[in-house]
Each structure stands twice: as C-alpha cells, then as structure tokens.
C-alpha cells in the first residue's frame, strides 16, 4: 500500500532523518516506523497533522516505538520518581533542604497539604494528579484528559489542517471516516496550493515543519530538545 507523502511531510522526514542521525539511532526499521519515530521525536510524543496524516494513511497508530522512552506510562509516577531522587537520607519523604531548588518551591508548598515542611510520596502524587485533572475542557482542550503527559499530549490545530489527530481520536472516527478525511485533507492541500503563491507555501511549510532552533539531542532529564511544533 503506497503512502502518499506531501511536500511538508517529506521536508519533515528529511530534516528529521538528518537530526536523528546525530542521535545515533541506526537500528533497521520500516519506512513507516521511521516516520512514526521521527514524528514522536520531533513533537515529543505529540503527533502533528503532517505526520499523523501520513501515518494514519499507512494504518499504523502513532505510538512511540517500544523501548524508546524508558519512563513509566503515567506522567505522575515519573514525576514523583524524579523528585524522590532528592530524598538524600532515604527516609521516604522530601524535606525543604533536600528539595532546595527554588524553582520547585511553589510545587513543594502547594503539595505540602499538612504544611509540615516535608513532602510524602502520597502528598506529591495527589498534587500532581490534581494538577493534571485541572486540564480544561473545550474545543481547544487536549484530547488526552486523565491520561497524563505520558500519553500523547494535546496539540493545537495546524494551519490548513481540517481535524488534528487528537480530535479524530476524541470523536472516535472509524477507519472509513479517517480514510475519507485523509482524502479530504489531500484535496484541501491541493486547492490551497493553487491559492497560495510559492513563497506563501514555503512560509507555511517552514512554520509547520522547521526543526529545532537550538542544538538537537535527547534533552537532559526531561522533554526532548527542540521536539515541538513550531509555535510562536
């Protein structure tokens, strides 16, 4: 089954391949899995439209390849584990002097329910779950409420995109519907290409697909560097 790839996807793929080779990923894989992995790396687990359309066309769900991310699936567990590494005396709680990073003071105080100057794992877990649950609903809201950032996060609609992937998921589109949507998207892309000038198309592509501005890499202990859609 052939996968039709538009110019934007091709640009993303090519740029992504160059960047990825710097990360030293060389295991053999199919073209489809490479696209999935590039998109996952680029967008930090968020599938953007350009990648989402190509991957849905191939019938592959855009999950990160197994083993790519070694963290637990719930964002809360990962975050708690990350902070509990600061438990220097290993007593299972975090004191203000153990977690002395001023940038985390707000979280510390928010989570310290009983206000006793120490954070237990359960206080931390409860606070982070609460933070996640406060994700607002609505047309611009993320599609993965309650799943935490370990699952694919939200992505805003890209210009020219009819229904971003998270919306397709939210609406529970059938395979047939997704196929028709892909065809509609191809029609829209084609007509838009006739409406816009070459320069305008290039600009739009750059906005969607430009790679990281800074040095690429897996990032340090957190989100992948530069793996974000190009948002102002």
């Amino acid at each position: 089954m052939s996968v039709s790839i538009g110019p934007s996807e091709a640009a993303a793929t090519n740029a992504g391949i160059e960047s990825l080779s710097m990360c030293g990923h060389h295991e053999p894989e199919t073209q489809i899995m490479r696209q999935a992995r590039l998109c996952e790396w680029w967008h930090g687990g968020i599938v953007a439209a350009a990648c989402g359309a190509a991957i849905s066309a191939a019938g592959v769900s855009a999950q990160p390849p197994p083993g790519e991310q070694g963290r637990p699936s719930s964002g809360v567990d990962a975050a708690v584990a990350r902070l509990m590494e600061y438990d220097a005396d290993g007593n299972g709680t975090l004191s203000g002097s153990e977690l002395s990073d001023s940038r985390l003071r707000a979280l510390f105080q928010r989570a310290d329910r009983d206000n006793n100057g120490t954070l237990t794992k359960s206080e931390l877990t409860e606070q982070l779950n609460q933070d996640l649950a406060s994700i607002p609903r609505g047309p611009r809201g993320p599609g993965d409420r309650g799943q935490g950032p370990g699952a694919r996060g939200p992505v805003g609609p890209q210009p020219g995109q009819i229904l971003p992937p998270f919306l397709q998921d939210e609406l529970n589109l059938t395979d047939a519907q997704r196929r028709e949507l892909r065809e509609l998207q191809r029609d829209v892309d084609a007509r838009l290409a006739r409406i816009l000038t070459g320069d305008q198309q290039r600009q739009l592509r750059q906005m969607r697909d430009r790679g990281p501005g800074g040095p690429p890499g897996r990032g340090t202990g957190g989100a992948p560097a530069g793996g974000r859609p190009q948002r102002p």
Binding site: G44, G45, I46, G75, V76, A78, A79, R82, L83, E85, Y86, A88, D89, G90, E98, S100, D101, S102, R103, L104, A106, L107, L128, L132, S134, I135, P136, G138, R140, G141, P142, G148, P149, G150, G153, P154, V155, G156, Q203, Q206, M207, R210, P212, G213, G214, P215, G219, T220, G221, G222, A223, P224, A225, G226, G227, R228, P229, Q230, R231, P232
Partner: protein, 228 residues
C-alpha cells in the same frame, strides 16, 4: 570500598554504597539541579535584529515613549547543574508586543498597523560573575494559537547556543490549553518553565517582577562528575 566505581550517576552511586557516605562532608553535599527543559524556538526569532539590543525592551535607544504593557523586571541566574554560576553567557529574550505582534518581518510585516513600534521586541544581556542576568520588558500576552503568554529565551556562549526555552506565567489559565506548555510531558519540567510575575509593592505604575533561574545541563567548560 575497593575497585573503580563505574556507576553512571551520583544518585545510583549513593544508593549503592549506603548511608555511611552521607556523612562525608563536602563530597556529596551538593545536589544536581534539574536542567531547564529546552522548548521550541518558534518561528519568530528576529530575522533582523533591532538597532537597540540592550536589556531594556521598554525603551528603544533615545526614545522617551515607552512600550505599551505591564513593565516587568525579569531577573535570574544562569547556573550549571552543580549550582555554579555561568558567567559571561549571553541571554537573549524575545516576545510579542502588547498587541501580539512579533518583531519579525513575517509577523510585523502583515501586522504593521497593530505593531507597537516602541517595543524593542528583543533584548540581550551578558551574565555577571554571579550568573545574574536582568531585563526590563513587558509582561507577556497571549498570541493567536498560543493561549499561554510566554517569553522566549536563548542562552549562548559566543556563537554556541546552549539552551532555547520559554518562560510561562505561573497560574495562567491559558497554560494548559497551550500546545507547547501542555506538550511538555514531564510534569516537573512544566514547573521549571514557570515564573511568578509578582507586583512590586512600591511601584505606582503597577510594575511586576519575575525571577527565572536557568540551569544548563551542559556548559562548555563544565567538568563531568566522575566517581573516584
């Protein structure tokens, strides 16, 4: 203990050798700070740098007309992961003006009617020996497609870029609707890009201050910790 220790990280090393070593003064006293997460540069890093590139974005050169917006004193330190100050690093910030127009031909061209010509849009500062940087700018506002107000930041040494990220307002309702902020998978990383924009009590014009420390995962001359 005998033999070379090949454990990759300080924390795993500590876990392996047990509690006795916590009493060794100075050796493990400092903790590694969490590195500031990198975030997308976005499409509007200025393509033409303004004539005035200082750290005061409210006033351009000799102009006496300030930019529109809530005056914000943005300060912080650039640190290594071991907490040491990074001096002589260049910190750059850029953001849209109070009318949500960026200083970039692709944005200010089409939107020239709305652009606040008194807003510098971009600023640069060199860190002091304490690692401190400071800017005077406006409190960021939302931008179409970006419900979360933010300030772009870039840290460089010479031509070499060390980090590109963004500063968000703690508690702003737009954060969780924003594709970039809510796309930060790690919940702790989300904390690390937040700053409190707090009113300055003495200010008669409603100025605010924001403190944002930047921790670099790697610096050009940082020596890697190696177990003895």
């Amino acid at each position: 203990m005998s033999g070379p220790l090949l454990l990759p990280g300080r924390r795993r090393f500590l876990g392996a050798v047990g509690a006795a070593f916590f009493t060794t003064p100075g050796l493990f006293a400092e903790q590694l700070l969490l590195p500031s997460p990198a975030l997308t540069e976005g499409p509007f890093y200025p393509d033409k740098l303004p004539l005035d590139q200082d750290n005061d974005l409210i006033l351009i050169k000799d102009s006496i007309t300030p930019a529109v917006g809530t005056i914000t004193h943005l300060t912080g330190r650039v640190l290594t992961s071991t907490g040491e100050p990074v001096k002589n690093a260049t910190v750059e910030i850029w953001q849209c003006d109070a009318n949500a127009v960026y200083l970039h031909t692709r944005d200010s061209g089409p939107n020239s009617g709305k652009q606040d010509r008194h807003f510098q849009g971009f600023g640069r500062c060199t860190t002091a020996s304490s690692g401190e940087y400071r800017f005077r700018t406006i409190k960021p506002v939302p931008y179409p497609g970006r419900p979360s107000p933010h300030i772009h930041v870039k840290v460089k040494r010479g031509d070499r870029e060390l980090l590109t990220t963004q500063i968000f307002i703690r508690g702003h309702e737009g954060n969780l609707r924003d594709g970039v902020y809510a796309g930060i998978r790690d919940l702790i990383d989300r904390e690390l890009v937040l700053a409190d924009f707090e009113p300055i009590n003495d200010s008669k014009i409603g100025e605010v201050q924001a403190r944002f420390d930047i921790v670099l995962g790697r610096t050009p001359d940082e020596r890697e910790y190696r177990p003895q």
